[in-house]
Symmetry: C2
Subunit: 212 residues, 2 copies
DNA sequence: TAGATTGTTAATCGATTAACAATC
DNA sequence: TAGATTGTTAATCGATTAACAATC
């Protein structure tokens, strides 16, 4: 469908475009040129045009880009026009934070189930959802067909669950475990989020970034 | 100090090396060759050697790298051998999750203060620390000299606080606001964490990654 | 029409990979 | 010493930037 393959660098920039276009739209912008957008985002106009043209021409010569139209296109490319059903494994602080985040700030996803293995949490409510015991995971998946799983559980548990989850139809993992999740199914997507790594790079820049 | 400037790609890989070396060490590895490490990490041996040589030779010809020695070097490069004092702004779920994360999984940092503006939270304890009212921020900073600030507050609050925080000596921001924090002080480091962007790229790969 | 700005091709730059001499 | 593996230079690859013709 898309022209050949899109490079990872481009894919990583798409959500940022989406965000900025959303803000522009909220501020009443109707059109914007690549030059102006570049300035706001700290990119070059060339790069922006190259990026958008990976997916076909969204602009109009002499005019620029229609803000809401372009935003909608990028949303569609990212798959944010769907409501992908997700389950959350692990209802600790991080899990709860992520759950709230999804509800308020992430278009394109619906959290449909929350699981934890600790008995004292089971039955508790997070937003609209009741925390379920992990033992009910299989039944739940067979009935409700979640597509994505958010892993906010310890590494060992994650390693144990992933194969089963794939069998149950999960095709995307959002992994907050601080270990890299390696999955060899070619049609299963994994996004590893390493908060510790992120903080470590900040530490690097804090300590050595300004020595020169 | 460091040889010229280190490219961003290299810096982003350092924490991952650090993590893998930690696991190797835990598994009893004493030495490892670039070839073997490459295999485990899904990189090339060439890249690994290039990366390490940005900082000087840590290996030994014919032998490879000493796991614990190399790990210590990388930790030092990242500044994880220090105990950088941090404050947390915003004690919602995400803030609490991050606070726990730092205590348990992030070497090199100590959380010394937690602030929130909502009166019902003030006084509550998170781990060893009591949540303080945001109005006490200035006094606290003058007394305790935190170096980094973790922003788990709404965008507007973040925009309002950053200048003051810089004046108070903050030199690193770990920003969880879903807006890009732009700071023009050249000696202030910023790491923007965009969970929504991360999820959106997962969505892209889920939806279009496997069409070809 | 004239001006603006895209879409796209060509040039540059930087990062990754390959190769190999140095050396433990 | 012979074998292994680094450190480092050279070659390749990919991504970014520049340029400009197409066109709204």
């Amino acid at each position: 469908m898309s022209k050949n393959t899109i490079s990872n660098s481009v894919i990583r920039r798409l959500p940022r475009y989406y965000r900025f276009l959303g803000e522009l739209q909220a501020n009443g912008y109707v059109r914007i040129s690549s030059r102006e957008l570049a300035e706001k985002m700290g990119l070059t106009a060339s790069q922006i045009r190259q990026d958008f043209n990976c997916f076909g021409g969204f602009g109009q010569q002499g005019y620029g880009y229609n803000v809401s139209g372009l935003r909608a296109e990028i949303g569609r490319i990212l798959g944010l026009d769907k409501a992908t059903p997700m389950i959350l494994l692990g209802a600790g602080n991080l899990g709860r934070a992520i759950a709230a985040h999804i509800d308020f700030e992430c278009k394109g996803f619906v959290l449909i189930g929350i699981f934890d293995s600790s008995p004292e949490m089971v039955g508790e409510k997070i937003g609209e959802l009741e925390i379920l015991d992990i033992s009910g995971l299989e039944d739940f998946c067979r009935k409700n067909h979640p597509v994505g799983a958010i892993l906010c559980i310890p590494k060992e548990a994650a390693a144990k669950e992933t194969d089963k989850l794939i069998d149950l139809g999960i095709r995307a993992f959002w992994n907050f475990t601080h270990y890299d999740l390696k999955i060899d199914h070619k049609d299963v997507a994994v996004e590893n989020v390493h908060l510790g790594d992120s903080l470590a790079t900040l530490s690097y820049r804090l300590n050595s970034g300004n020595e020169e």
